[in-house]
């Protein structure tokens, strides 16, 4: 799980470094496959509520289906207890809600050494990887 580690930022100190023209925010109800990604280095996917899981599927489609290699950034109601799902769905950056404990988030990301099913990062399921 060393590759593609999720970079964590705190909302109150986060400042985007990319030019605005390189950043694209995709709405939760949009199909990322219809987005024009030319020249885009960062895609932002928003969590209106942490319990709204649409952005996980969007990240998967971007990373796995489209092979997007830029940053996929989680914004909005981003909590440390959902970071593992974000990393596995293809997010590479997460801007944590201001009240979140970033250090604890880093620790939680390392909690499970492996999972059953394949994901956007480790595409093979455990049974195939272990075979």
């Amino acid at each position: 799980m060393s590759q593609n580690n999720l970079q964590l930022f705190s909302a109150d100190t986060f400042a985007a470094t990319e030019a605005e023209a390189q950043r694209l925010a995709i709405a939760n109800d949009a199909d990322p496959r219809e987005a024009d990604l030319s020249g885009i280095s960062v895609v932002e996917l928003h969590f209106p509520k942490f319990s709204d899981g649409r952005a996980f599927s969007q990240a998967f489609l971007l990373r796995r289906r489209l092979g997007f290699t830029g940053q996929i950034r989680a914004t909005g109601d981003v909590l440390i207890d959902q970071l593992v799902q974000m990393q596995r769905s293809g997010f590479s950056q997460a801007v944590l809600r201001a009240d979140q404990n970033l250090a604890h988030g880093e620790a939680l990301l390392k909690h499970y050494p492996a999972f059953y099913q394949g994901d956007a990062v480790h595409t093979a399921p455990h049974f195939a990887a272990a075979a």
């Binding site: 942490f50 319990s51 709204d52 899981g53 649409r54 996980f56 599927s57 969007q58 998967f60 796995r64 289906r65 909590l79 207890d81 959902q82 593992v84 799902q85 974000m86 990393q87 596995r88 769905s89 404990n101 939680l108 909690h111 499970y112 492996a114 999972f115 059953y116 099913q117 394949g118 994901d119 956007a120 595409t123 093979a124 399921p125 455990h126 049974f127 195939a128 272990a130 075979a131």
Partner: protein
């Protein structure tokens, strides 16, 4: 039974540790109530009227004796009423001292629930469960829930293929799936591998049926969009035949479509059934297009290899048991001759509670947890302990939680039937009522549940009390009586031949009665919701209404006709007339 590998075991322990961390942060105030809620739900902790309810996952219902013993320990040491604040008003409901505690409860989804464990002890319970590979992963919350199946899986004589290896593979695939942890709503999958559907698959978000095509290849018929609740819908077949090795890839497409397009603005319209109904063919097209992309663009990563199916199937090889059937017959005959009373009860038990088996030397025996004085599906710590012993002595250490809220012993030798019967009878678990009226399905109802409009348990007791006479029960024959305390339908009232639904009017308990519902078995006909027979009844009227319905059946039936067949033949009118005739308080209210 599936045996956990080091990987599986470590996974469950890590989950328990993760939960303890979450609980600790919540207790310290650094994790808010709203943020903690879905985390505890996805570990089985659902807060009810007085205390949290814990739902322990029993994957596809299979449970071992050591696991049953841990469930008994939890019932005895943790399920304590007095550790909770029971001073809250319970106006109009049962007195708190009468509510059961120190027991587990078998659910229609083959899980086990507790009603009284305080959250402060929840992490300790998770550790205890993890010691025998049990957990509460995804037993609540908006995620893929426990995969359920036929309680006779792997032993049914009408089986096309054993669904358990697939249920286990699905369990693994759905466990902590990163993309599908926050779906619009809960998501339930059921699999059957037999000709008779004993898993109510058309009533599930996804219902899978194993079958063979014309070339003898194994595959699944895939239904999507079934569900109960306030909008009962029977799932639609969106694939007549899917090769078995593609099931994970296909379900990924189904759940992704649901995650992306399912409604999130209204909790009552968020189940996949609403999406499937609204979109119709467009939903199927979306799933098929996504499935093609998974195959062609993603490289079909979750194709199940033959090696993996073989590896998992090896855990489900039947225990090597056999017996001398001549001696078995002799023993059974001996009991049948022993005493007139035994004779009748034992032969009824053989008829109702003992099912044939793929191995002619073996039988499947259901222990009945439907008896007067205890809530349907409740098992005390002592009963759980004894059930563990029975499973060990008579069933290769394995039992199954059934959809009808009983416990089934799948590997019983014919020659041990008399001995098992005596033991089970001593424990009060040999009531020969399986499939009969009093083998009812009931939710915990308003006594425990915040959502319920009315109680289920007093009604269940009234029926259990009124229909104690075994002659009468057997004469009434096979009847599905299902009781839900509210429209969320945990007691499956929609699929009962007689369905009872608690409704709320002016803060009083009222009950709507439906007739002719079906879970999809041959006895009941194609899965369908029952039809309401008229205005709701007062609680005090309901037992009389049920009696009137049953009396109507007895008056109307011809020959060996079952309740549901008589109903289909005569229509509901004679039943409605009889039910309305027993109105007392509701008649006064209407006058």
């Amino acid at each position: 039974m599936y045996q956990y590998s080091d990987f599986d075991r470590q996974f469950v322990h890590l989950r328990a540790a993760q939960y303890r961390d979450q609980l600790t942060r919540w207790q310290a105030g650094t994790l808010g109530d709203d943020e903690f809620k879905p985390l505890r739900l996805q570990n089985g902790w659902y807060v009810q009227r007085f205390a949290p309810m814990l739902r322990v996952a029993v994957p596809y219902g299979e449970i071992s004796s050591p696991q049953l013993r841990v469930l008994a320990t939890i019932a005895r040491d943790f399920d304590h009423k007095e550790e909770n604040d029971v001073s809250k008003s319970n106006a109009g409901l049962s007195e708190v001292p009468t509510l059961p505690d120190r027991c587990g409860h078998f659910t229609t989804r083959q899980n086990v629930q507790y009603n009284w464990i305080p959250l402060s002890r929840s992490a300790d319970v998770m550790d205890l469960l993890a010691s025998v590979g049990l957990h509460g992963i995804q037993t609540s919350g908006n995620c893929i829930r426990n995969i359920t199946t036929d309680a006779l899986a792997g032993i049914a004589v009408d089986e096309v293929a054993d669904p358990r290896p697939f249920a286990e593979i699905l369990r693994q695939w759905s466990t902590l799936h990163p993309e599908f942890a926050f779906l619009p709503r809960k998501f339930k999958v059921a699999i059957t591998g037999a000709r008779e559907d004993r898993a109510a698959t058309p009533w599930h978000d996804v219902g899978l049926r194993l079958l063979r095509d014309v070339d003898g290849e194994l595959g699944f018929q895939v239904r999507v969009g079934g569900g109960m609740g306030r909008t009962p819908i029977i799932g639609s077949v969106i694939r007549e035949f899917l090769p078995w090795n593609q099931i994970l890839n296909y379900l990924e497409a189904v759940v992704r479509a649901y995650n992306r397009f399912g409604r999130r603005d209204n909790i009552y319209k968020a189940r996949i059934k609403i999406l499937v109904k609204a979109e119709g063919q467009a939903f199927t097209d979306q799933v098929e297009a996504e499935y093609r992309d998974i195959l062609e663009k993603d490289g079909a990563p979750h194709t199940i290899s033959q090696a993996e199916l073989d590896r998992v199937s090896a855990f489900f090889v039947p225990p090597q048991l056999n017996c001398d059937r001549k001696s078995a017959d002799a023993k059974i005959a001996h009991i049948l001759k022993a005493a007139a009373e035994d004779d009748l009860e034992f032969s009824r038990w053989l008829q109702q509670n003992v099912k044939p088996h793929q191995n002619p030397d073996l039988r499947a025996v259901t222990l009945s947890f439907k008896r007067f004085g205890q809530a349907p599906g409740d098992a005390t710590a002592e009963q759980l302990e004894r059930a563990a012993e029975l499973a060990e002595r008579f069933s290769a250490g394995e039992a199954r939680v059934t959809h009808e809220q009983n416990l089934l012993l799948p590997w019983v030798r014919c020659d041990q039937l008399p001995e098992l019967w005596r033991e089970a009878r001593r424990l009060g678990l040999a009531k020969p009522n399986i499939g009969l009226l009093t083998d009812m399905i009931a939710c915990p109802g308003g006594d425990f549940c915040d959502l319920a409009n009315a109680r289920s348990l007093p009604l269940a007791q009234a029926i259990l009390g009124r229909y104690k006479d075994l002659d009468e029960l057997h004469d009434l024959g096979e009847i599905d009586l299902h009781i839900s305390g509210c429209i969320n339908s945990c007691g499956h009232h929609h699929s009962g031949h007689i369905g009872i639904l608690g409704v709320d009017k002016d803060g009083q308990e009222w009950y709507q009665v439906t007739l002719g519902g079906s879970d999809g078995t041959r006895l009941s006909g194609d899965a369908t919701p029952g039809k309401v027979i008229g205005p709701s009844f007062a609680a005090s009227e309901v037992p009389d209404v049920i009696e009137a319905l049953l009396d109507t059946y007895r008056a109307q039936r011809t020959g060996n006709e079952t309740f549901v067949n008589t109903l289909h033949r005569t229509g509901a009118d004679p039943f409605k007339t009889a039910a309305n005739a027993v109105r007392t308080s509701t008649a006064r209210a209407a006058a």
